[in-house]
Subunit: 239 residues, 2 copies
């Protein structure tokens, strides 16, 4: 069965965390909105008046009749099917907890450029964005990265992966988070690999995995841009 991924076209955004898992596993999937008629197909589901399991927002995944929404939920669902979740059940819940910490981190990263409202332009909330980002970079960024580094270092199976003894979707998501932070905050991230060597090693290792490497070089991987989650506004990245 071909998986159907529904997400906005034109940006990596939250959909990218799902794409990376599907690409790593070499799964058969369609990025629906990038196909002809795809946007209408997505809106048909979102606005359906008879579908029971309507999603609040993209991304969502359709697997036959099953609709699963929210990044962490989709990855929790797909993980075992794609061979990207721990075999042990308790560790699967731990992986989900890590992914939900990434979810919270992403919400804060989004708020660096949109602290007042997603419906306002960045330019109309720039002062608040500066105030938010200054504290984000000094307090929150080190707290989140420090936590993930510590979990890596305390993994009894070694620090090559964040949970259990093999690659999981959480490692792929960590790659994407680091990649996005390096794009958005190059100044603040300078020398991050010295402070968080385990995370830097995962970032480098994921990038070299054959399926990921091929995907990153393909047309399927969009460039970061200022409509996405990770944005580069130099004035926010000042010291």
């Amino acid at each position: 069965m071909t998986y159907q991924l529904y997400y906005w076209d034109g940006l990596q955004g939250r959909g990218e965390f799902i794409r990376l898992a599907l690409e790593e596993a070499g799964a058969d999937y369609v990025d629906v909105v990038r196909e002809p008629g795809g946007m209408a197909a997505m809106m048909n589901i979102m606005e359906s008046r008879d579908e029971a399991c309507i999603p609040f927002a993209p991304p969502f995944l359709k697997d036959g009749d099953v609709i699963v929404s929210h990044v962490a939920n989709i990855l929790f669902y797909l993980g075992p099917k794609l061979g990207l979740a721990p075999a042990n059940e308790a560790l699967r819940y731990f992986a989900n907890g890590l992914q939900l910490t990434i979810t919270d981190f992403l919400a804060e990263i989004h708020n660096t450029h949109h602290p007042i409202a997603a419906s306002l332009y960045y330019e109309d909330q720039k002062d608040a964005a500066k105030a938010y980002t200054a504290l984000f970079l000094t307090e929150r960024l080190p707290k989140f990265l420090g936590y993930f580094e510590r979990v890596l270092q305390q993994n009894p199976h070694g620090d090559k992966q964040i949970v259990g003894d093999r690659l999981s979707y959480v490692d792929l998501s960590l790659f994407q988070v680091i990649e996005g932070l390096l794009y958005g905050f190059p100044r603040a991230m300078k020398g991050y690999d010295k402070k968080y060597p385990g995370l830097a090693a995962i970032h480098a290792a994921v990038r070299e995995r054959p399926n990921i490497k091929r995907y990153l070089a393909s047309d399927g991987r969009l460039a970061f841009n200022e409509t996405g989650l990770f944005r580069h506004y130099p004035e926010l990245d000042e010291g």
Copy 2:
């Protein structure tokens, strides 16, 4: 086995969503931090240098050796054990998606009083809080409540519960969300029961369930206050 819930004392906060599920099911649990030595026990886990599955933040649940963190993850884990999850697997993922939408909603509710940083006092971010809350009340509150009402109305098993044909932890969480919004934004919520009759009916029905009713009247249920997630600042609730 007695469940151990770890959460800050003195506020309902995110821990309350777990308490409501445990209370409804009549489960055997300890609210660790409210016991003597509980705060030290929680910090021991948070700061452990050898535990593999360290949580980023409370609430977290300990079930024997298993540690599960994040509200939605804890409820996903507990739901089937407490008889508060749908029997059907696809519906369990739908319930998790709904709970994660509640998670996002709660993050925005928190941002109404702390849009710039959790580490700053409300008084030091009051102007941003007013700007945030004005758009939250006109755009986001109706969007979230309208979504949940629509899901209720489109449940093929009827609108007495949001997923499947029986009470789930999602209904209990919706009760708590409505209860908190009525506390925090009494003006903005005025007449909400006319606009969202299904949600209002769930709110009323959950309140009357024997175990919940007993719990709400007990010392275990703390009052809402201005250290929690739902806060009543009249200046934010103006028209």
